[in-house]
Amino acid sequence: MIRYYYYHIFYVGMMNIMVLVPYVLISHRFDGAVSSFPLAIVFGTVYSYVTSAFFQRFPGLGLPEIYKLFLPVWLANCLNMVGVVIWCTAGIIVLFSYSNTVGIFFDPEASSYLNLAIMAAASLWAASRTSRSVQFTHEVLLIVSTPIILWILFKALFSHWLDWDAIRLVADAGIRKPPSMVCLFAASFVFSGHMNITLFNRLNPKDLKFRLRWTIPIVGTFFLLVSFFVPIGFHGTQAVGNYLYVWSVTTDSLMMKYGFIQRVLYLFLLLYTFLSLVFVMNTWHTGMEFFKACFKKYKPATDEVNVPAINWWICGVLAGLTFVYAYFTNDIFNRVAAELWLVTRFIIESILIVLLLVFLVMKKKGYMKRIDDQHERRSGGASR
């Protein structure tokens, strides 16, 4: 079942476009975006290795259960709540920026709340399913959209309108500057697909080996470089800074002459509808499960036949919060919020990595609080 792990790595790599990562990087293209890439690659790779190595030692356990093994309940709950906030805000920001993009390019006359309502309804339904369903949905949507997304990326990469002089200029100017922190935080997002394991490890069978981990830096670096340099190649070193939805404009600069529709943009946005839906589904689902884990009575379950009502309530609240956010925010504030989120995400991820290492040491020294035999049974049932 190792493929599910790599689905997450892959889709987060492609998803960075919707979290405004290229925008953040491009706005710093002359001061330290490029030089932060090697750092981001190192950090991303190391973090992926640490998390996968850690969770491999705790098969069938999600992060909330592991917290309970090592920490007092109040601290575990606090940490869970931090997770809830960081996961759910990601979904909300993406949902808002996506519905905005669609509003701009698909149907400018319709109210932006309408797009938001449709997407929020879909996300609400998808995220409130069981973990297993979420994982399967993720697989299906990703298999449908990835080949075409890669086709668009390669079409852009091999287009003769791509100006390699501009790319060389930016790469050369950027690599000589000291790395910028914000860019490091933004760029490392591309590698952060491994974080989804914190919840979906519950579904992993006991004997799971994390093979092929060397592909993570390759995949991440590819998506990072493409999403940063291709827009620069298309719009030049200066004009590229004038766009907010820089990738939408870049795909609009491609043409499918003999395609059914000539504008690649529409195909691209359709595919990113899928990806955004997957992203919001995953983030809200993870947030929801983390929230549920704060209650005493809660038992982690991954394959319930009937979805508990609490799932609907939590996701409903998240959908409502998205509307509140959409009401009070605008494009410029959303940009700031996305940047802030990227920074916070990295910091929290780093803290988590340290925590996981501490847990590993504690396990070795035998400080584990209680062996939960109940989880053993459950995870045995879950592994197929």
């Binding site: 701009i104 390019f105 149907d107 400018p108 006359e109 319709a110 109210s111 309408l114 309108w161 100006d163 002089d165 501009a166 060389r168 200029l169 050369d172 100017a173 000589r176 298309f234 719009h235 030049g236 070193t237 200066q238 004009a239 590229v240 004038n242 404009v249 609009d252 600069s253 491609l254 043409m255 002459k257 000539q262 504008r263």
Partner: protein
């Protein structure tokens, strides 16, 4: 339980009724703009004249069956003129299918392209792959022409560009995103095709080279051809070697070009062009006598012509090739390199290295 579910389903179905109100305008309530022209009217209160060609949808698709109307409005800005135009038509204007934007020559010479470009790049329904061109003497005459060969309104003009329809060797293709990039880029200047009306057709065989805002130089058809080959490596062109009694003509099927800068303090801009093709017109048995010699002669002639054109562009103070950008990319971020380049460029020497390879004599009988 079952009644409960049925009720829920019915409730969901009623949601479908709301779909009609998605603030969508039906296709029969829209006017499709197929080409747009911006001109400079001599009225200082309303300097912008916008001309739109609106397609009349018809059920038949046939040659010469394209119907369209042309509307014009003057206003203080392009956006206002488009708004004014809306009051003269009965349907909503839709720019999603408009891929031709014609800027009047006078507009560019008097006002520059900046204001037009601002409007074009802000409209979300305008494609980044729209063709932008200069209308000579004005945009109105180009927009107003209704060629007889059109299958549907407006297709004649966009088929002229790129390699979609005709592969004309001296038509420069500039897309909107490329124009926008060139306007902002340091060391790369915009170039636009020049369209004018010739009998019942468009003639797009010249190019205008601009500095960041206004036209600096118009290239004649021969120079445009050379420019197309050296700057864009456009395929399917011709190469002429003057000869008596008949010129020798090479049909170049494949062209690649690459720019390079040699030398540090006194740089030479080298343009490497390799041209492949076959002879379309030549005296009999010329090729057999001296194949290599003919290739060299053609290459030398091409280099001389291209260098003359390059010096002309340089002396106009513009850089549509991107030599400046190439220089900046080559010179590792040294301080003041852009100022240095601006000093160097007016004195720079060009060297066109043409590598012509003749694939065959073109004889089939």
């Amino acid at each position: 339980m079952i009644r409960h579910r049925t009720l829920l389903r019915c409730l969901c179905l009623t949601l479908l009724l709301a779909l009609g109100g998605c603030q969508m305008k039906d296709i029969d309530k829209r006017y499709f703009v197929v080409s747009a022209g911006f001109d400079y009217s001599d009225n200082p209160a309303a300097p912008y004249r916008v001309t739109l060609r609106l397609a009349l949808p018809s059920s038949k698709v046939e040659e010469g069956g394209a119907m369209s109307v042309v509307q014009t409005a003057d206003a203080a800005s392009i956006a206002e003129a488009v708004r004014h135009l809306k009051s003269t038509v009965d349907k909503e204007l839709e720019f999603g299918h408009c891929r031709e934007f014609i800027l009047g020559r006078k507009l560019i010479e008097k006002d520059g392209i900046d204001n037009s470009l601002q409007w074009l790049s802000r409209r979300r329904d305008i494609q980044s792959v729209s063709n932008v061109m200069v209308g000579d003497p004005d945009a109105y005459s180009v927009v107003n022409l209704k060629p007889k060969s059109e299958r549907y309104p407006g297709n004649s003009l966009f088929l002229s560009f790129g390699n979609e329809g005709t592969e004309a060797a001296n038509t420069v293709t500039t897309y909107l995103f490329d124009l926008y990039r060139r306007v902002y880029e340091t060391g790369l200047d915009p170039v636009l095709p020049v369209a004018n009306v010739f009998r019942d057709a468009y003639k797009i065989d010249r190019a205008a080279v601009l500095d960041k805002d206004k036209t600096r130089l118009f290239l004649d058809p021969d120079e445009t051809l050379l420019f197309n080959m050296t700057a864009f490596g456009v395929d399917n062109t011709i190469l002429v070697l003057p000869d008596k009694p008949l010129n020798i003509v090479l049909a170049a099927t494949h062209t690649t070009s690459k720019i390079n800068l040699k030398g540090g303090e006194d740089p030479v801009a080298v343009v490497n062009v390799s041209i492949e093709g076959f002879l379309e017109q030549s005296p009999p048995h010329l090729l057999e006598k001296d194949w290599g010699g003919l290739e060299r002669k053609m290459g030398k002639h091409f280099s001389e012509e291209a260098e003359r054109m390059l010096y002309k562009i340089r002396d106009a103070g513009v850089d549509p090739y991107g030599f400046g950008l190439h220089y900046l990319a080559d010179h590792h971020n040294a301080k003041g390199r852009w100022e240095k380049w601006k000093r160097l460029y007016p004195e720079i020497r060009f060297e066109v290295r043409a590598n012509v390879s003749i694939q065959g004599s073109g004889l089939i009988r």
